[in-house]
Point group: C2
Chain length 206, copies 2
């Protein structure tokens, strides 16, 4: 299976292509894409060859064709249903974000232990955590987002695995154990900010 | 200057140490830390030697001493002031998060072009974007977070650089150009979720 960085670059090429399209471009060269995502043009061509994407004879790529090819590779040809666990700050920010649906990712429900957060009437329902397993099984959900405090995250991970979830995006600053066949990506906002601060201080001292 | 992954592991060791402390641990071994962050114990020892951290003679590390050493390396001995640009979903989630202050990172103000978001009375003031430059200069702010739409992000980046910002955490899904002496870390939530979906689909097909 392809390396994570390569897939991450593919989604960055896609966002750049969508931006070029809104600017009225019809065709694009690997140099344009390289500049837009901070890669080299040979990296762009290499990534495309990994996924079997080739350019036109006279050079360059037709933007519409390229977007369609990348969308197929990223599994965008069908809507991917996603659930969130934790309707707090992060959970609400994700529920309110309109950008996911444009990209074929639909947040279909959110679960929380706090009864005051339950809302069955909202655009995205917030349901009690007890209903997680039946909801995931009945709707064949494969992807979950963890947005709960670190001490609750391992328990939530177990509940998701039990319900049959195959992929998790985790915002809690804790390493989660998952079996081979479950994909876990971590976003640690605190550590990203600490990282920036470390380098700013290191640059000032040097 | 030290590699980014090494610094990122350091902040993960720190969160694990804080958790061990709340569980009543006093001492810890590199194996414990390796398990907690998903690294190997030789990687833990290697990281510590990069930063000049050594264990006690009889083996293992005193948790309090280790936390203090890591906090010094990460620049936690003084409060780091941070500003946010964009008081939308992400900006509000970051403003409401209590975890930053515990770690010596303090969000001191947020800026927005939308006059209805301005709030000079909140715990963290939301100010008009016109006041960004004077606020950053008067308060010697070095770190900024970009939480605006992708088309507004390059303009915001320029304004931050002009005001003297030295480090940026960017949530907009776009590559930002910055001079050598400015650190930019990107968090692309959309691409992280796309990445999880890609691997879940790839695993299901294989
Ligand atoms: N908000 C931020 O900007 C930010 C920044 C860095 C890290 N994080 C991390 O992201 C995670 C979420 O942060 P937040 O600010 O949204 O927290 P929050 O406290 O606002 O929300 C957490 C939600 O999870 C719910 N919850 C707790 N235990 C649960 C369980 N077992 N099952 C289901 N729901 C449960 C709570 O009721 C609450 O609604 C945390 O791990 C935090 O460390 C957040
Ligand atoms: N919310 C999410 O879960 C999520 C997920 C993926 C990516 N993102 C990315 O994070 C960024 C922020 O997303 P959001 O959901 O918070 O958006 P949002 O629309 O809720 O908030 C954006 C805020 O920025 C302000 N703004 C616009 N132009 C500005 C400028 N030039 N200067 C100052 N303020 C300006 C707007 O008035 C608004 O308050 C976007 O780039 C988005 O693509 C967000």
């Amino acid at each position: 299976i392809t390396a994570k960085n390569c897939v991450a670059r593919l989604s960055r090429y896609k966002s750049a292509l969508n931006r070029f399209k809104t600017l009225g471009f019809v065709k694009v060269f690997s140099d344009n894409l390289a500049d837009a995502v901070g890669a080299t043009s040979s990296q762009v061509r290499k990534d495309f060859s990994v996924f079997g994407i080739s350019g036109s004879k006279r050079g360059g790529y037709k933007i519409d064709e390229l977007i369609e090819k990348i969308n197929n590779i990223l599994g965008k040809n069908e809507v991917q249903q996603v659930i969130i666990v934790g309707a707090g700050n992060i959970g609400s920010a994700l529920m309110n974000f309109k950008g996911f649906e444009k990209e074929g990712m639909k947040i279909v429900a959110c679960f929380d232990t706090d009864p005051t957060k339950v809302n069955r009437l909202g655009n995205i329902q917030v349901l009690p955590i007890e209903e997680l397993k039946s909801f995931v099984l009945n709707n064949k959900i494969k992807i979950g987002i963890i947005a709960v405090p670190d001490n609750a995250a391992p328990g939530v991970m177990e509940a998701l695995l039990e319900a049959g979830i195959k992929g998790v995006l985790n915002f809690a600053p804790i390493q989660l154990k998952a079996p081979e066949e479950c994909v876990v990506n971590n976003v640690n906002i605190e550590s990203e900010l600490e990282n920036v601060i470390y380098y700013v201080n290191a640059l000032q001292k040097s």
